[in-house]
């Protein structure tokens, strides 16, 4: 790990050193713009990080201490927790050059299974909780098998399973919400993600936010310090090259979709913590919001590059913009407008950075 840290500080130096390589190898990387491009290539999360800081500065000026207060900033963190957890799942998928349109549906399906089994069917809460997690895992596994073994495009597969899981939500829930009060009485464990921890200065963290951060650390570790993580990047980068290099790309894909499904189930638990209830109506926008967070966070839709940290920052950017614009009294339509603009800018920058190898 220490070696890796040392290595990455060398990254920029390495780029410049590239110019002095094997005498014959030409190098055209000159000028400030190329230098910025090279820097961003080495540190792809720099842009979202800068956008986040600039956003916070702007809204602090526009909305004052109502915005820049520990309580409000911790509130934004609470508000982006669902999107953040889903975004972690979606990042894994997008790193393999895939897309999962069904993450939101898997999340709600898992929360409905947990809530309904424990409150309506009377199953012990621990068992229904585990069954809820397994539901997510199974949904992801089905996606993975269809993508890796049946070799269907991820977009089509998950468009289909989105509908299927959506139908299951209605069938299982019978369109009925399990109320917060009923869950609190019978299965309070399901609301644990909503437990609150007061920090100093009015800031409040929920268990869900802490779990999101721990989950991000875990997935970061897997991506960067295990062979499986390296295989995820390689599979998304160039599947044929990965296969020839000896990676079992099919197993990698199935693994990634299954893990993503499991993380979606955790997101379902987070949803119950946040809204108290197990509702078939919740999370309607979560799908696209999660993809937005991933893209704004600098993960490439073409696969093979991106990071979990970027996704969390991306989710925070969306949360900060929505919250800041609302506090500054900006109409909801313009909030949507701003988020749309962010997506376009993020993808444009990604395309530009990718050209470094051209």
């Amino acid at each position: 790990m220490s070696d890796d840290a040392a290595g990455s500080t060398l990254a920029e130096k390495g780029l410049n050193a590239g110019a002095h390589d094997v005498a014959s190898f030409e190098d055209t990387r000159h000028g400030p713009l190329r230098r910025i491009q090279g820097f961003l290539h080495s540190y792809p999360t720099a842009i979202p990080f800068i956008v986040l800081i600039v956003g916070i500065l702007i809204f602090t000026i526009a909305a004052g201490t109502r915005f820049f207060a520990p309580f409000n900033l911790s509130l934004v963190l609470q508000q982006v927790t669902i999107i953040g957890v889903l975004g972690i799942a979606q990042t894994l998928i997008i790193l393999t050059a895939g897309i999962d349109l069904s993450v939101g549906a898997i999340m709600i399906l898992s929360s409905i299974v947990m809530g309904r089994l424990s409150v309506v069917a009377g199953v012990p809460v621990e068992i229904s909780f585990v069954l809820g997690l397994l539901t997510g895992l199974a949904c992801g596994f089905v996606n993975g098998v269809l993508v890796a073994l049946v070799r269907l495009p991820p977009f089509i597969v998950t468009l289909g399973t989105w509908s299927i899981y959506g139908a299951l939500i209605i069938l299982i829930s019978r369109s009925e919400t399990i109320r917060s009060q009923d869950i609190a009485a019978i299965a309070p464990m399901l609301q644990w993600m909503g437990a609150r921890v007061a920090l100093g200065g009015g800031a409040i963290l929920t268990a869900g936010s802490i779990v999101m951060i721990l989950l991000a650390c875990l997935v970061w570790y897997i991506l960067n310090h295990t062979a499986f993580g390296r295989h995820i990047y390689a599979t998304g980068d160039d599947p044929e090259a990965a296969r020839l290099a000896g990676i079992n790309t099919k197993a990698t894909l199935i693994g990634v979709y299954s893990i993503a499904g499991l993380i979606c189930a955790v997101a379902g638990w987070v949803v119950i913590g946040r809204i108290g209830a197990a509702s078939p109506l919740a999370g309607q926008n979560a799908n696209l919001d999660a993809i937005t967070a991933v893209v704004i966070g600098g993960t490439s839709l073409f696969g093979g590059r991106g990071s979990i940290i970027g996704t969390l920052i991306g989710a925070l950017i969306v949360g900060i913009f929505r919250n800041g614009l609302a506090l500054a009294g900006v109409d909801v339509l313009w909030q949507e407008f701003a988020v749309g603009g962010l997506i376009i800018v993020a993808v444009t920058i990604d395309q530009w950075i990718r050209k470094i190898s051209a």
Partner: protein, 272 residues
């Protein structure tokens, strides 16, 4: 692959001296009505650079794929060090010590040089971190990657953690060759290693090939570039119409002779 193990005595062209590292006999591969391999033979001797040339469609890439496990022949035998092998996938060939540098290099552009060199055979740390947390041994992999690159005179690539896409075409080829040389215990197969490179970079790669040979590994070199072939090859396997037409010594023939044999304009030696 055919299940009948033919005795070595069926060998059409007995070769003097040491036994071949790879010995293939009667390889057949059909794609529908197209016969890509028509009872092709192949021999690779220890320590040599064997060039494989042939016109487009002569079946040389199918031959190479059969040797590195990417294609399963319909009939014929392949022996490594005299024992028959049946490759079901490139993995099997790699386990048998045959490393291939594919024309597309099979590198992941966004990953670092060290990551690429160990892709698919990463090293884990010892102790509980490696066993339970599957922690990669970055330090050791970096050290070995660096060592291998220096051995091959590629240590001008200073930062082992820079991503492969920031490298030039020649440097990438260097990384792919270093990977093959690091893990290939028996043979390194190179498919058109100079095809995408400029003059200077091609020269570096040819030197690299000779370096690998000096280290005792035999090399199979597939190339269209006759000057390159004649510069480095010890023997030249000429493939035509799905089979081995001849094996020539580059010292005894000119480039135009080789091309003439390859295209059928000239009769191969020994078939007067």
């Amino acid at each position: 692959m055919s299940m009948d193990t033919q005795p070595a005595s069926l060998s059409a062209t007995p070769i003097a001296g040491p036994n071949p590292i790879i010995e293939a006999r009667g390889l057949v591969k059909r794609y529908g009505r197209v016969v890509a391999l028509d009872h092709a033979d192949f021999d690779l001797m220890p320590g040599e650079i064997l060039a494989v040339i042939g016109d487009n469609g002569a079946g040389k890439s199918t031959l190479i794929k059969a040797l590195c496990g990417a294609v399963i022949p319909d009939a014929g035998t392949i022996k490594i060090d005299g024992s028959p092998v049946h490759f079901a996938s490139p993995m099997d060939a790699r386990k048998a010590g045959i490393e291939t540098v594919y024309q597309n290099l099979a590198l992941s552009p966004a990953l670092s040089i060290a990551d690429n060199m160990f892709l698919g055979r990463e090293m884990r740390k010892g102790g509980p971190f490696g066993r339970f947390l599957r922690l990669l041994d970055r330090g050791e992999m970096n050290r070995r990657a660096r060592a291998k690159l220096s051995e091959l005179g590629l240590m001008t690539i200073q930062n082992i953690n820079q991503s492969v896409e920031t490298l030039s075409g020649g440097q990438r080829q260097g990384v792919a060759v270093a990977r093959a040389a690091a893990f290939g215990s028996k043979v390194v197969i190179m498919d058109e290693p100079t095809a995408a490179l400029g003059v200077k970079e091609s020269r570096r790669v040819l030197e690299l090939i000779l370096d690998v040979k000096r280290r005792g590994l035999p090399i199979v070199l597939i190339s269209h570039n006759m000057p390159h072939v004649f510069e480095v090859a010890d023997r030249i396997h000429i493939h035509r119409l799905g089979k081995r037409l001849a094996v020539i010594n580059p010292k005894d023939f000119t480039m135009s002779d080789a091309v003439a044999i390859m295209t059928g304009a000239m009769k191969p030696p020994g078939m007067t």
